[in-house]
């Protein structure tokens, strides 16, 4: 068993950025694992992504066309199992995404592969592959290994690795598979109504509020503060779920990714993993929280432990 297999992800005709991050994660490991770095893209129209995936370090692109639209979980599981069997990689990298939530566990369970999810560091030592993930609400790091497993399937956290720079000219192989009868069939995608016209993905300066604000009445205070300092007001999931701010302002896994953000001020956001997924890559993060043990401080550049209302009020007086 040698080599690395990366499973790329696409949706609605677009390659998801995490696919390239997986290649970035795989690239430095090639020296240890030996063998080729192959990137597989499964689904109808998958050939369209060949060009985007031809980045530095990629030795081969495996195009697995399937009938129908988006690949369903059963098809993904069968495709990955088939690729592992035929290519015999030592390491398989998947995105830790909502799509992989739908098949990764089933693939690992059926194949008996080494398996870990939400991985943000990968290395090899004499014991084989060692993956690092968070635990207890990201308050600790956990290193796991896979004794006795010849293949390790790792679902990798988005934003944890950088996409490689430079291009390559990989071989392109079309792999045919007999698609299984899909038992779970995608019908359609629905874009949730924006709520307001703000676009969190293009905002450079975001001031985000979380559960810590306690009550809807306080939202206005932070709206005013965000306006005063020139930030876009964002929020964590509980605030959007409560309807205190429109869903379009939610940053995180099930909300928006703060892609263009350079300064992120999180007030009363504890740092649930879903929220971190949308903002932890931001270069300057300031977290204000009354709980000194909040997970948000693990990703923040600066931390302020204190009463968010008092800090907000004082901050307001500077602008």
């Amino acid at each position: 068993m040698s080599g690395i297999l990366v499973i790329a992800e696409h949706r609605s005709g677009e390659l998801r950025p995490v696919s390239l991050e997986l290649i970035g994660a795989a690239q430095p490991l090639k020296a240890v694992t030996g063998g080729p770095l192959a990137v597989a893209i499964v689904g109808s129209g998958s050939a369209n992504f060949v060009k985007s995936l031809a980045v530095a370090g990629v030795d081969e692109i495996l195009v697995v066309p399937t009938p129908g639209g988006e690949p369903d979980p059963d098809t993904m599981a069968v495709a990955i199992a088939m690729l592992i069997e035929s290519r015999a990689p030592g390491l398989v990298l998947l995105p830790h995404s909502v799509d992989s939530f739908g098949y990764a566990g089933a693939v690992a369970a059926a194949g008996g592969f080494g398996f870990a999810t939400d991985v943000f560091q990968i290395r090899f030592d004499e014991g084989g592959c060692v993956a690092t993930r968070g635990g207890y609400g990201q308050k600790v790091n956990i290193e796991v290994d896979f004794p006795g497993r010849s293949v390790a399937v790792l679902a990798v956290r988005s934003g944890a690795f950088k996409a490689p720079e430079g291009e390559s000219t990989p071989a392109v192989t079309v792999v045919q598979m007999a698609a299984p009868r899909a038992r779970a069939r995608p019908i359609e995608y629905i874009e949730v109504a924006a709520g307001d016209d703000v676009d969190m993905t293009t905002a450079e300066f975001i001031l985000s509020i979380g559960r810590g604000i306690g009550e809807e009445a306080k939202v206005a205070q932070f709206k005013d503060l965000a306006d005063a300092v020139g930030a876009t007001l964002g929020c964590s999931r509980p605030i959007a779920d409560s309807g205190w701010l429109p869903k379009s302002r939610q940053v995180g896994q099930s909300g928006k990714t703060a892609s263009a953000c350079k300064l992120y001020v999180a007030m009363g956001v504890s740092g649930a993993i879903q929220h971190l997924a949308g903002m932890k890559h931001v270069s300057t993060i300031v977290a204000v929280n009354s709980d000194s043990a909040a997970s948000i401080f693990n990703v923040a550049t600066y931390g302020i432990v204190g009463d968010i209302f008092a800090v907000a009020e004082e901050l307001r007086s500077h602008f």
Partner: protein, 273 residues
């Protein structure tokens, strides 16, 4: 093993007693977990929603039995009692010493075995647990059962005895996906799908009187090779507090802290202008 009379239909809800950490926690001497003294236990938040979804189906008039299942030592009874208080008809806990050290896959194998033994018609699990967030147990259960499945479901339309369910999945970036799933099936349930009811202390106390079936691996046709480290696909080698990644703390009065924050913001907006 009993079952509610007249119920021809069964939903199995997999639940976990999760742990969060107290402040100033300490890592266990062997370096592979946290000292148990510092763990605060509770029913996993996602599981509150999946249990509620099952109980809602029952309350909508279906002749259905809701069975909560947890894999864990005796402390997990507390989570199961909460489920009984919230409307589960029965509770099953699987444990023996060999189960210790199981990862999400080994746990899924056990739950799948219980589902087979119970002849369940549907299995619900939370999308993930709030402590270790593997987000894979539910799908792995489907893998072991070879059942259809859908992950991150935030709306579920299903009537008793139907051959398929229509679900709505919550994808990244505020996108939803409608999906049709053949049944029996496994669904992992997302937060917000419903409003979980409050389990009053009185109902929890009353639930304490209901029995919790405790099973060992042999009862569900498994052996110690199927659980614990032997049955897992990963092994914890080390647990530690990340040295880097901790924020640089700004101390002082709120006024002083705000002044520093204002300076950071002004530096950024000034540079950006």
């Amino acid at each position: 093993m009993g079952s509610v009379k007249g119920c021809r239909w069964k939903i199995l809800v997999a639940v976990k007693q999760v742990s969060s950490l107290e402040e100033d926690f300490e890592i266990r001497a062997d370096g592979r977990d946290v000292e148990p003294d510092f763990l605060v236990r509770d029913l996993n938040e996602w599981d509150e929603y999946s249990l509620e979804e099952a109980v809602k189906i029952k309350e909508a008039g279906a002749e259905v039995e809701v069975v909560a299942v947890s894999v864990g030592p005796e402390v997990a009874d507390e989570a199961l009692r909460k489920c009984l208080a919230k409307g589960a008809d029965r509770a099953i806990r699987v444990w023996e010493d060999a189960v210790a050290g199981s990862d999400s896959i080994a746990v899924a194998r056990i739950v799948a075995a219980v589902a087979r033994r119970e002849k369940a018609d549907l299995v619900f699990a939370g999308v993930q647990s709030s402590d270790h967030s593997f987000a894979s147990t539910g799908t792995a259960i489907a893998g072991f059962l070879d059942w259809p499945h859908a992950a991150v479901v935030n709306q579920l339309a299903y009537v008793q005895g139907a051959t398929r369910a229509e679900v709505r999945r919550e994808l990244e970036g505020g996108v939803l996906q409608l999906m049709e799933v053949d049944c029996p099936a496994v669904f992992t349930i997302q937060l917000g799908i419903n409003a979980p009811r409050y389990a009053s202390l009185r109902s929890i106390k009353q639930a304490a009187a209901k029995p919790i079936e405790t099973l060992c691996l042999g009862d569900i046709g498994l052996s110690s090779a199927d659980a614990g480290e032997a049955g897992s696909l990963s092994r914890v080698r080390r647990m530690y507090v990340s040295a880097k990644g901790r924020a640089q703390m700004i101390d002082g009065t709120p006024a002083e802290q705000a002044a520093r924050l204002a300076a950071i913001i002004k530096k950024f907006t000034g540079a950006g202008a």
